[in-house]
Amino acid sequence: MSGLQGREAIALVARREVTQKLREKSFLISMGVTVTIIVLVAVVPALLGAGGPTTFTLGTTDATSAQIAANAKRAPGFDVELDVRSMSPAEAKQAIDDGSVDAVLSGEALRAKEEPDDQLVGIVQAAAREVRQAQALRRAGVRGAELQAALNPPALKVTTVEPVDPERDRKGAFAFVAVLVLYTQLLTYGYLLASGVVEEKSSRVVEVLLSTIRPKDLLAGKIIGLGLLGFGQLVVMTGVGLLAATLSGALDVTGEVVGAAALALGWFVLGYAFYSGLFACAGALVPRQEELQASMTPLTMLILISFFVSFIVLDDPDGTLAHVTSFIPFSAPITMPPRIALGEAPAYEIVIAFVVTLAGALALIPLAGRIYSGAVLRTGSAIKVRDAWRATKTGAESRA
């Protein structure tokens, strides 16, 4: 019986983290809830017909309105279906009030209970203009082919310099889910790690642990254990989500999608590597769970800011903010994956962002280890980072 090698100690600590969490009912329940939500997000829009055409109900009270409605129904180029119902003015009033129609067209007016949908207004306006123009042209004596030519000018041909991605909307949805999941996962596992550190500290288990293993091995074991758990959970979530989305037809799971998902998983690993040591320090600096929220605030703020920035990135994945935040270690794990998912990040940028974040993580880990070691045994009250830093320094000097 002798001292454990570092690697054995790390493995023992990591295994305890995983097995204990997997035994916790609350963890299993939250996992179940998350997977259910992901399945719903993937399946429900398809079931509700989202992505397909929108259907509006339009009432008409006279012949001209009926003709306008008929034209609107034939209008090309919009993803809108029109259900036209002819009704008396009295019925129309009733239908507007009880909401059985979206709007009623009568004479010159389009009436609705609330402001009607822009798409509906747009196609009805266009159709009305068409019908009135036809009437005016006929009154002016224009007939036959001439009338048809005047009423149906050739449609403008749309061309773009860059190729249009027909999957853009679906990729956008995928990128959004990726951002949401990465954000949640980083926060959740950062918190789990920090509160685990506080648990050991407040119960003084840490003293027993540190009488047999080194602080850095304990810290490494905890980070690796929870990281593996978080990664495994993400793999399950991604697998289930992609499967559900495929089965429901919400997403074509192409090689590109799988690649983007795999890269998102990689970004979790990087983001976790960057943040985990800091979260462990946030835990080590406070004596009780009640004080943990406060000490984690700077970290949760960084993640939250990155999360908000990612919405701007989703909207403009090639914008300045998107480019800049891709190369900042604390934000890249959340703002880079959506760019990758949208196909807007060139390979070299992905590589640079990856390297920069990894370098940031590698630079932080020893600093975090030192603060953790200096703080984790100080019971009583909260500790300043500076004092924790110095505490280990004096220890290191005396050993030298």
Binding site: L4, S203, A391
Partner: protein, 297 residues
């Protein structure tokens, strides 16, 4: 043999230990006493390697203590020192493994100690659901599960009822008899006096007194003391004994300090002259009295 040599440790501007040294012999129950803040916990943490000393050294069997040596020590910190949400039967094997036992050995050792400490029936329970006494037994199990060569316990008796105190005393006595030195801190000085062969009294990070309890008590009195009770007599007779001085009064009579060469025989003679002597005993100071003297100095 455990040697603590010239330990010094500061926390910022606060001096916790200032050149502390003492020795714990094999098979000894060693009491570590001192007022709050004297540096007891700091010393124990340094012995266990949880803290680094600023100066000084801890030696075990003549060698400086390293991580491999410490794997053979057992430690019980003050309060808890257990994972509250972990089940008892997971907890012991985990710590046994951390001390270097194989998975199979760790499981067997855990089972044995749960049985020996009388908590085998609570093995499936989470620690936080146990009573304080049972939690303390689990804690002791964690400290003992790897059959340590040295046991260090911080305030192991605090919060225990008299039965718990007896059980724990018995276990520690048994270990010491097997040759395992046991070092523990306590504020219950009567208990330390009854249980321990040796003590160290510390104050402000320095050793005030250390050694075998009986020697300290013999040496500790500044003057020999004798307690005398005489039926139906006041204290006037005491004036007839030059050098005798009343230092305490109690139900068993007055306590006299004998100075300037005054002997107990002279006291007894004077007392018999005054009336019927119902109590006469040479007294040595208790550990509590030594402690108060030492700490007040």
């Amino acid at each position: 043999m455990l040697e603590v040599a010239d330990l010094a440790r500061r926390y910022g501007d606060v001096v916790a230990l200032d050149g502390l040294s003492f020795t714990v012999e094999p098979g000894q129950l060693f009491g570590f006493v001192g007022p709050n803040g004297a540096g007891k916990t700091t010393t124990m943490r340094i012995i266990l390697g949880v803290l680094e000393p600023d100066a000084g050294e801890v030696r075990w069997r003549g060698q400086p203590v390293d991580l491999a040596t410490r794997a053979r020590f057992g430690y019980m910190p003050e309060e808890r020192g257990l994972y509250p949400k972990m089940r008892v039967r997971d907890q012991l094997p985990y710590f046994a493994s951390l001390h270097g036992l194989s998975a199979a050995d760790a499981g067997a050792a855990a089972e044995k100690w749960l049985e020996r400490l009388g908590i085998a029936d609570r093995a499936a329970d989470r620690v936080e659901t146990l009573s304080l006494g049972n939690q303390q037994r689990v804690q002791l199990g964690v400290a003992l599960v790897h059959e340590p060569e040295l046991l260090v316990l911080d305030e192991p008796f605090s919060g225990l009822d008299p039965v718990g105190v007896d059980v724990l005393s018995g276990v520690l006595r048994g270990l010491a008899d097997e040759g395992v030195p046991v070092l523990f801190s306590s504020h219950q000085l009567e208990l330390v006096e009854r249980l321990c062969e040796s003590v160290a009294i510390v104050k402000d990070g320095q050793l005030v007194a250390a050694g075998r309890v009986d020697e300290l008590r013999s040496r500790g009195a500044r003057a020999p003391t004798v307690r005398v009770a005489v039926r139906d007599a006041g204290e006037e007779w005491i004036a007839g004994v030059p050098g005798a001085e009343v230092v305490d009064r109690g139900p068993d009579g007055v306590l006299l300090a004998l100075r300037d060469g005054a002997g107990p025989e002279a006291v007894l003679d004077a007392a018999r002259g005054a009336g019927t002597v119902t109590h006469f005993a040479l007294e040595r100071p208790t550990l509590s009295e030594l402690f108060r003297q030492a700490v007040a100095a």
